[in-house]
């Protein structure tokens, strides 16, 4: 398990990136998030750039552009890459926590920490084969 990125929603990706440019943050990857058709840019500090461009892909900040109508801007969540997303989620369930988003696709999951922060998990490497009990588990709070 390692820190992957911190996701920040912005209404204007270019303006936000201009700010981080001043601080010597480097864009290490750009993409369009398919499901929400949103532009996203991943930035690493100059010291972290080599690691950010590597397979490790961390640590970065993920700037995701979305309109004000789609939701609030600002810090959205903290993301970790985990070796076995099912084991991570099962560990949380065993401790009595509810998944905000179960890993139905075998790749992503989200949980809300007790203080309200949202923590996301990405499966390392290949995505897991979708399976129960996750497949039929509804989103939590």
């Amino acid at each position: 398990m390692h820190y992957l990125h911190t996701t920040i929603f912005t209404a204007d990706l270019d303006k936000t990136r201009a700010f981080w440019d001043v601080l010597d943050m480097r864009t290490v990857r750009e993409l369009v998030v398919p499901k929400i058709n949103a532009r996203a840019a991943f930035l690493s500090g100059s010291h972290d750039e080599e690691s950010g461009r590597s397979e490790r892909f961390a640590p970065t900040i993920a700037l995701v552009e979305r309109s004000a109508e789609a939701g609030p801007v600002g810090l959205s969540h903290i993301c970790f890459r985990v070796d076995d997303i099912y084991a991570t989620c099962q560990g949380l369930l065993d401790k009595g926590y509810t998944l905000k988003m179960p890993p139905r696709e075998g790749f992503r999951a989200m949980v809300r920490g007790p203080e309200g922060a949202v923590v996301e998990f990405h499966q390392a490497g290949e995505r897991k084969v979708p399976q129960e009990p996750w497949l039929s588990m509804a989103d939590g709070v």
Binding site: M1, H2, Y3, T6, I8, F9, T10, D12, K15, T16, A18, F19, W20, V22, L23, D24, M25, S44, G45, S46, H47, D48, A58, P59, T60, I61, V73, G74, L75, I78, F80, R81, T88, G91, L92, D94, K95, Y97, G113, P114, E115, G116, A117, V119
Partner: protein, 153 residues
């Protein structure tokens, strides 16, 4: 050079949050501070896969900073979001702050101590800048620049 240090999260109940991050998620407590001056307890937790890089220069990266105010009133004043700031270490805090000012941004908490500064991003987030040790010698124009606006220290 800019290096991701940590993401600060304000907690209501430190034991409950440590149970979540350490017992349930398997993160590791790497540093704890009882800050009499700021009246807070601060605990840094790192993911196991970051432990090789986490202990460094008496700071740790990348980590989550769990921040517990001792005073309820202070906690209530910061309750709007669980998130505090994003922290980065810089080689030259004066150069970083000068570049931000030149680009038209306000330094909310100037680096009067030659070590720490806060600035609000265009999205309303607070960025904390930490000078790589040793701290700079306090110097103008920062010494006489007052705090302005608000930030999530």
């Amino acid at each position: 050079m800019l290096e991701y240090l940590h993401t600060m999260i304000k907690v209501d109940d430190l034991d409950q949050s440590l149970d979540f991050y350490c017992n349930a998620l398997g993160m590791i407590e790497v540093k704890r501070l009882e800050d009499e001056e700021e009246r807070c307890t601060v605990v840094f937790v790192a993911a196991p896969g970051d432990m090789a890089s986490a202990p460094f220069d008496a700071r740790f990266a990348p980590t989550i900073e769990l921040y517990k105010y001792w005073d309820e009133a202070e906690r209530d004043a910061h309750r709007s979001s669980a998130y505090g700031h994003l922290s980065f270490r810089v080689d030259d805090i004066y150069a970083a702050c000068a570049a931000l000012r030149d680009a038209g941004h306000t330094i909310n908490r100037p680096p009067r101590d030659g070590f720490k500064a806060y600035v609000e991003t265009v999205d309303g987030l607070t960025v904390e800048l930490i000078q790589r040790r040793p701290a700079k010698t306090p110097a103008e124009p920062w010494l006489s620049l007052p705090d302005t606006g608000h930030w999530n220290g």
